[in-house]
Amino acid sequence: MTQTATGKAQGSEPVQEIRVILADSQAIYRVGMRKIFAVEDDIRVIAQAESLQNLYTALQRFPTDVVVLEGKLLAGTIDAIPELVRRAPDAKLIVQVTEADEATTVELYRRGVRGVVPRSISPDLLIKCIRKIAAGETWIDNQSVTWVIEAYRSQAQALTSPRGQLSFSAKELAVISCITRGMRNKEIAYQVGTTEQVIKNYLRKIYDKLGVSDRLELALYCMHHQLLKQYPQEAIYDVSGKPVAEPLSIRL
């Protein structure tokens, strides 16, 4: 066989490289992982980052298949994962954690992470993890599967079963009422007397309170639990058309 200029034997299949960014605040980890991947002919480290900001820059510059991300870099930044997914929708995320706990693990998978691995993972397993995730799979251990399924089951139960006391402000109820009538955010803002951004903030809060994910799910929730039936419309606005200020509680 003859060699081509790129070093691949002519007639052989080119090796599909997995482009990896290492995001870790500790240089020793980055150096160590780089050495591990250096001997693998299908994994190429294309960039390193020691902070989230550096990682954002790297993702902007380099097409990336997998990001190996230290969990500590996400501390205090709730929207980091959605932001990373938004900036690089094709890049798959692996988060390395010092200690696995149920809430963090479930939340990471929920937000779009493809693998949660311990910092103490063996080199061979990390390489296997990267290859599996690059191929489109999710890397999840038995304990995490149990946690995620339990979280999903609890959420489903919470949405379809009677719940304890829920508290909504009058404005939140006004927004819910408008959403379930098919109004758009701009129309609701006008109705309620605020800006579109404020309405989006209300929506996010309502979604989180009820555990729903979109307008249709909100409407279905309201139908199933008859949420708005508890409040006559005139209780939400006063006679001058202004929303009533004090919070209102309901028992479902």
Binding site: R181, G182, S213, L220, C222, L228, K229, Q230
Partner: protein
């Protein structure tokens, strides 16, 4: 009124049916419009991504359908009924008495009907 696709416009909400949304056990009478026939059906459960229906008429998997679910004014605390107009595809059918059809919701629009 605007239709809400759950992902980017023009693309189906999901290429393969994924049971990730909560299913509400709502029994609502609907009529599935297939383009060539109007098929009466009743929902068994409804989620924001799909609906399971009972019907007496089979509808082939892959059929594009449109239907509207009416949420009563009384239950919704509104002046008029709420109509959720949907467009989707049949992704599963189980023969039997009655026939069960699984439909994915690709687009939907919520609007309040006149009182």
């Amino acid at each position: 009124m605007k239709f809400y696709p759950s992902k980017t416009s023009g693309a189906p909400r999901s290429a393969t049916p994924v049971r990730s949304a909560v299913r509400f056990p709502l029994q609502l009478p609907v009529t599935l419009s297939t383009g060539v026939a109007e098929v009466p059906a009743t929902t068994i459960d409804v989620s924001s991504t799909g609906v399971l229906l009972e019907t007496a008429t089979p509808v082939a998997v892959g059929t594009q359908v449109r239907w509207a679910m009416h949420l009563s004014a009384e239950a919704m605390g509104a002046e008029g009924d709420i109509a959720v107009e949907c467009a989707g595809r049949v992704v599963g059918m189980r023969e039997g008495q009655p026939i069960r059809i699984a439909v994915v919701i690709d687009e939907y629009r919520i609007k309040e009907e006149a009182a």
